[in-house]
């Protein structure tokens, strides 16, 4: 635990030299985007809530699929693994420290969006359920991000593919647009994530039990592969 704590502190320190980039890409740009979205709703309460819940999921996609995925992919490069082999720390501790750090960095966006939801909404919000659903979304996306990171061992390929994957997720999930249900939505786990979030803020009235089953099942499968990879000794061998 002490090693994980040290690793997280080390990660935070590492971001020092990128403080302006972090401020802009993790706070200024997403929050400005959120304000633009809200301005475009023209005071429509339902639409604002719809877009704000979409914004929460979109922020998590960017953080976990793009940033965490890229970081894990970079870690899996032979020379980076060799660099860590020089330190008295296990790779699983390093990956967990990445996860903790990125989760911390995305929190302000989630908190600000949640405050905005509270301000805009006139109906009752089940905050307990909302938090549980945000956590489920975080677990799903962080699992996907890590799996993608392990899969794309070539960081230079990952730099091209992972941002594209983020965009594909944004494209096939009704975060910022409304659409009738289709086969893509039913198999897309992020559709379930956003549905659950919208349910907890009283925007979605349909049945959600299958979305919970689907997400929890997916999280268990992702956890199995992530754990297997993290406990693997021979990290330069096959992907999983």
């Amino acid at each position: 635990m002490n090693k994980l704590f040290q690793a997280i502190l080390f990660e935070f320190r590492a971001f020092r030299v990128f403080k302006i980039q972090i401020l802009i890409s993790l706070f200024v740009m997403p929050l400005s985007y959120m304000i633009i979205i809200l301005l475009n709703t023209g005071g429509n309460q339902q639409m604002s809530l719809y877009l704000l819940s979409g914004f929460v999921v979109a922020s998590l996609i960017g953080t976990y699929v793009s940033l965490l995925g890229l970081r894990v992919s970079n870690l899996m490069m032979p020379e980076v693994l060799e660099m860590y082999a020089a330190l008295p720390i296990k790779i699983r501790t390093v990956v967990l420290s990445y996860l903790a750090t990125y989760s911390f960095y995305v929190l302000p966006q989630i908190i600000v969006a949640s405050i905005m939801i509270a301000v805009v909404s006139s109906s009752s919000i089940n905050w307990g359920l909302f938090v549980v659903n945000v956590i489920l979304t975080m677990l799903t996306l962080s699992g996907l991000g890590m799996i993608f990171g392990f899969f794309f061992k070539n960081y230079f390929v990952a730099q091209g593919v992972l941002p594209l994957l983020s965009w594909i997720f944004l494209f096939i999930t009704p975060l910022y647009y409304q659409a009738e249900s289709s086969i893509i939505f039913s198999i897309n786990p992020l559709n379930s994530c956003v549905k659950l979030l919208r349910h907890s803020i009283d925007l979605y009235k349909g049945v959600i039990i299958w979305d919970y089953v689907y997400l929890i099942g997916l999280i268990l499968i992702l956890s199995f592969f992530v754990k297997r990879r993290l406990l693997s000794v021979y990290l330069l061998e096959k992907r999983f």
Partner: protein
Amino acid sequence: MLEIKEITKVYPNGKKANDSISLKVRSGQIVGLVGPNGAGKTTLIRQILGLLKPTSGSIFIEGKELVRMKENYFGYVPQNPLVFQSHTIRELIQYTVKLKGMTDDRKTKEIIDQLYSIFNIKNWENLYGYQLSGGQLKIVMLVIAICQRPGILILDEPSNMLDILSKKKLWKFLQESKMTVFLSSHDIKEISVLCDYIYFIQGGRIVFSGNKREIPQVNQLPVTLKFKVKEKIPKYLLSHFMIADSKDGLFKIFSKNISEIMTLIDSLQKYSFEYLSLIAPDFDNAIELIMEEFYE
């Protein structure tokens, strides 16, 4: 002690990088691994570190088979030093010591102080990783590896980016430290200065091994003679010698036979020596000859 028994590594593309390699690194020994590029040195090191799985064979540490990466056992300096770009050197060293749980360890502090003084690290300890030169990066990796006081220090080309002064300081430190070191290097001088025992790897196989005394004997005591004489010497005197260099009248001659070199020196005396140097047995030359002999 590290013992490798019959390690073979075949990559998925069918390339055999290591072929039945067996070697031993005893406590307190400095053991060298010498071989040309692509001989399989890095693959072997990656298997020892637990990053690659041997296709067959076993690695033993202190008599126990290495089946999981021993987090605290090895100190490692990779060939191409990557270092955390956004941390200062002082932070990196402190981080290593904290992770190792040695913050209050007196011996660790002494080692760090000693390395600080050897490499004048105080002058650049507040620089960030991205601000360092190649040599400084290598020094940082060396300090990180050594300050952990590992069971075995694995060094992959440890001095290839260091200036000659830093190299010599590092060699002196390693010789005096009595650490167990497994050293992979192209630098024959480094191998000859440091290593108690040397393995030659070629095409993934250990083609020869021996200590400093045994290696020159393999090649019948290789000798290097350098000389310059005042007068012109007849060509026939040197006709059956391997002349490596003869710039500005300074001859460099290799031979595998010390007695014929002694005869040559005798015959050259009447031409008045201006300069004479004899290295026998020539360890560097012996290594080169072994490498050439096994080079495919």
